[in-house]
């Protein structure tokens, strides 16, 4: 099915099941521990051996020699895989560095060996017996130092790295009110609960991988490419994923080394990355340095805006697209953005939840707060005043409309709901006991892309509907919204739908990434269900014009047949793929929101504690308000972590992230997040898909950290432009103790 004209009324609009806050259908499995994650797929491969990865002890250089003799002789050891015996390995299309080092080492904890043994403990102990002699090379690890050598990258997530409208320099110079500020965001880790893990088994020349991966078809392609085998000889299964956040968009060393280990040991092999490897062996969100300049007239109209970003990556890698939202959020006749990329020899950087916008808002939305204060304007009003209903900076064009844009409504409703009028515009005025109290706001922007997505739907003789698609559920609720979609389309209750996900045996879907998963994968299910409805009607000789599917029956012209009966004992199957036309070129598809935060800062210890958070989101039709809310509060929590504590500390001498465990890399705990509210504005967007829905999982993080930073400023009068905003950055500037 091709979606190239805006949707009209369709069966989804009945909203009998879609749009309802139903419990997630996979909830009982997860709460009882019976949803089997990759490492616990005990039923898929008999008698698996255990693999343990040895990561490189240096960041850059060469392996001069590697002695595995003692490890091979250790109890229980079945095989040791290194680059010397692994055979030729290619680099996957989605990887920047190779997944097995040797002789060249590209980053710290890059895998140098896999030990396969009868037990996990034996494999781990033997890994400690491998002797590696390294030759260190000098590397670049400090973004601040490398900044001056940064160059313009070929592209920025598919967009041009630079953009220009009007004459920024002249307009900024002429602006009566100006702000020019530079912000730093640190490297951060996905730190998902489930580390990357895989079980691999070979049957002849066919490889099966039970793994934890957000993008099944990408993964299949990169496994095949890396190992040099045909794509159709690779099978991936990833039905449950314990968090991904972009860290599992790509194949990582657990999958490739499990495959190599299984080949060497002639046995199925399971490998989980030890926690310490998650930080330095896999991808992370890169640190950024961002300069934002805004010029405005005294009445608060922005006349000039510029956003420049510097980030680093290994050679061949890409930049952080932090300037994206600055092209989209506020009107201004003169503007420029620029993206520069430095070469760093840290582990490779890549996508993490809302790549670009997550960091970009941390600069832009603080600059907006600083500017509002300079203008003497309320920060909510300042944002509303500079709203734009067309894309402000669109590769030189300035007339393309948004399909929906309720930023102003989000800001207004949020201010009202949150009690924004209670905020004192003058900082450091509100005190409760030892606590200084402040409120902050930030706008939220994130694109609403769609991707081609397929599904297969089966109807059996009992009336059960089974959906198969390689779409993944990374904790987001995909199972449930897909079931809701199929139930609505086929006119059956939710318990008559079975959903099977995350397997190369199923039609290729959009996968989970870029907040495109929900809208795209349900559209694919819509397409397949539309075909199945036609097949049912045709089989019964019903006219497809007036056929209805409701209450488990299909009806037309006074005739009504139970679905199972209609399918017959052989059942019916339909498969289709939703493809998206050029509506996303005619209209800018985006989601908008506003975040409001209240913080308390201990006036003695300078500890920052959140008190309240509110997100107001406009993101198309909300397919399931309950799972959507879970997505947004999770994203808000991640934003709070970015604001207050999350930082991969770089050791510029050794070139690695030092705090590579969950004791050293702190993420928020329950006590940090006392109260969160989420409001979804009514919105249906018929130009996006027949579902009229968009994603929310990434919108929820955009702007959160800036709102926290702005609230800290309002509480204390201290403006910190270097995240995370820890107490050591506040202490020397805090208001005098009284």
């Amino acid at each position: 099915m091709k979606f190239d004209t805006p949707a009209t009324t369709n069966p989804i609009d009945q909203l009998k099941i879609v749009g309802k806050p139903v419990d997630r259908i996979d909830g009982p499995l997860k709460t009882t521990g019976t949803a089997s994650y990759a490492y616990e797929r005990h039923d898929v491969a008999a008698n698996p051996a255990y693999g343990h990865i040895l990561g490189s002890a240096i960041a850059k250089g060469r392996i001069a020699s590697i002695d595995t003799r003692e490890a091979i002789a250790a109890p229980g050891v079945l095989a040791v895989v290194t680059a010397q015996n692994a055979g030729a390995l290619m680099k996957g299309d989605f990887n920047t560095a190779k997944l097995l080092a040797g002789p060249e080492v590209q980053h710290y904890h890059q895998a140098v060996a896999l030990v396969v043994a009868e037990t996990f403990e034996q494999a781990r102990a033997a890994a400690g017996l491998i002797k590696v002699d390294y030759t260190r090379a000098d590397g670049a690890y400090d973004l601040e130092k490398a900044k001056s050598s940064a160059t313009k990258p070929k592209d920025m997530d598919g967009d041009a790295p630079d953009s220009k409208v009007g004459d920024f320099a002249s307009a900024f110079a002429a602006a009566p009110v100006q702000i020019d500020a530079t912000y730093h965001t640190p490297d951060v880790s996905h730190a998902m609960m489930e580390p990357h893990a895989s079980i691999a088994a070979w049957k002849g020349d066919e490889l099966s991988l039970w793994t934890s991966n957000q993008m099944i078809d990408w993964g299949r392609g990169d496994v095949a490419k890396t190992l040099g085998i045909p794509k159709d000889k690779v099978h991936l299964s990833s039905p449950y994923i314990g968090g991904g956040f972009g860290g599992k968009l790509f194949v990582r060393s657990d999958a490739i080394l499990a495959a190599l280990g299984a080949r060497a040991a002639k046995r199925p092999v399971k490998v989980a990355l030890q926690r310490a490897l998650v930080a330095n062996n896999t991808t992370h969100r890169p640190a950024t340095i961002q300069r934002v300049r805004i010029g405005a007239s005294r009445d608060g109209k922005i006349t000039a805006i510029a956003h420049e970003n510097w980030s680093g990556d290994l050679p061949g890698g890409g930049p952080d697209s932090s300037v994206q939202q600055t092209r989209m959020l506020y009107a201004a006749p003169n503007r420029m953005t620029a993206t520069r990329l430095a070469v760093l020899d840290l582990p490779e950087s890549n996508a993490m939840r809302a790549p670009g916008e997550a960091t970009g808002h941390m600069a832009l939305e603080v600059a907006m707060d600083e500017m509002a204060e300079k203008l003497g304007m309320d920060p909510v009003q300042f944002r509303i005043l500079n709203d734009s209903q067309v894309v402000p900076d669109d590769n030189g064009k300035t007339d393309r409309p948004f399909s929906q844009r309720q930023l102003v409504e989000c800001l207004r409703q949020g201010a009202d709901t949150f009690g924004w009028t209670g905020r004192n515009a003058k900082p450091a005025q509100r005190r409760e006991g030892d606590w200084l109290i402040g409120m902050g706001v930030a706008s939220a922007y994130r694109g609403a892309p769609t991707q081609k997505s397929g599904a297969r739907v089966r109807l059996d003789g009992s009336g059960m509907v089974t959906v198969e698609t390689d779409m993944t559920d990374i904790g987001t609720g995909s199972y449930t919204i897909i079931a809701q979609t199929a139930a609505e389309m086929m006119g059956v209750p939710l318990d008559k739908v079975v959903v099977k996900l995350g397997d190369t045996a199923y039609p290729v879907s959009a996968g989970s990434g870029g907040q495109w998963g929900a809208a795209s994968s349900t559209a694919g299910v819509y397409a397949a269900c539309t075909k199945l409805r036609e097949a049912v009607a045709t089989k019964l000789g019903f006219s497809t014009a007036d056929v209805t599917f409701a209450d488990g029956k299909v009806s037309s012209a006074g005739r009504s047949v139970a679905l199972g009966e209609a399918a017959g004992p052989g059942g019916l199957v339909a498969e289709d793929t939703m493809e998206f036309g050029d509506l996303s070129e005619k209209y800018q598809h985006s989601t908008f929101g506003a975040h409001f935060v209240e913080v308390a800062v201990d006036m003695h210890t300078c500890e920052v504690r959140l008190r309240r958070m509110l997100a107001v989101c406009a993101a198309g039709r909300i397919l399931n308000p309950k799972s959507a809310r879970s997505q947004v509060i999770g994203a808000m929590t991640m934003g709070a972590g970015a604001a207050l504590m999350e930082e991969l500390a770089v050791d510029n001498r050794f070139g690695f992230f030092v705090n590579h465990d969950l004791a050293g890399y702190e993420v928020p705990v329950h006590a940090d997040i006392p109260h969160q509210d989420v409001v979804f504005l009514d919105e249906t967007d018929p130009t996006v898909s027949p579902m009229k829905a968009k994603g929310v999982g990434e919108l929820g993080i955009c702007g959160v950290a800036a709102a926290v930073a702005n609230a800290i400023y309002n509480a204390t009068g201290v403006r910190v432009r270097e995240y995370p905003i820890t107490l050591d950055k506040l202490i020397s500037q805090m208001p005098a103790l009284v």
Partner: protein, 318 residues
Amino acid sequence: MKPFTYERADSPAAAAAAAARNPGSRFIAGGTNLLDLMKLQIETPPHLVDVTGLKLDRIDKTDDGGLRIGALVRNTDLAADDRVRRDYGVLSRALLAGASGQLRNMATTAGNLLQRTRCPYFYDTNMPCNKRTPGSGCSAIGGYSRQLAVVGSSGSCIATHPSDMAVAMRALDAMVETVRSDGSTRTIPIADFHRLPGETPHIDTNLAPAELITAVTLPKPLGGKHIYKKVRDRASYAFALISVAAVIGKDGKGRVTIGGVAHKPWRVDAADAQLPQGAKATAQALFADAKPTKDNAYKIPLVERTLGVVLAQAGAKS
């Protein structure tokens, strides 16, 4: 984890003797720190002596009106004990500020005293660390040191002791009772229990090899206000950036011990003497010989500010 042998001891003296028979062995009780370190091959004991069966899990009154806390009393139970809550509030509060409920259920009194530093370079076996591998150097010096020591450190080590409980124990002048492999016992004042790193940062305490802690005793109740204030980046389940354990009398006199700043709970007699003069004078005495790094210099004003609020809470001059 390297393969190791294991035995259960049936008396404290037998446990110490078993340890002496197996050089390099470790006692294991809750295992909340040791097992992690063994998995990472930071600790590689050839032999473990399990002491959990030694029945050292009672809290009893001592003859002089204090408390004897068995070495195996769990942190959860110690924090909840009525006598501890009533007479040694600083200890109960320090315990509850540490770790998580699950860890406190497992962690023991003696094990808490013996937990090892959380310096990230100690935890990464690819990095030089004099505490882990004597003579290999200290990679924390000149590295990421935001959480490390500002005082009492050496050119060999800037690690901190991570315990909350030990900070309160130091403020209370606890005594550590031990038994050695020959069956002899001794009592070590907590002040002399932990060591400064000097040139031997691999030796955390003054326990002899194979010496087993059997109990920790507290003197008779001190009275005064008992306060434990822990400052950290997140609201729960984080090691202290700094912490203050204080027992302050109505007259403003008292004792204070600082956590998160040194290789051991940091208490200075001259600083205690300054308490009636307020936080600034006390902090000056505590950190007269401080050698902070650029990353952790904030700890000194942070302690002063935190002391100020602690003294105010105690009703003393802040």
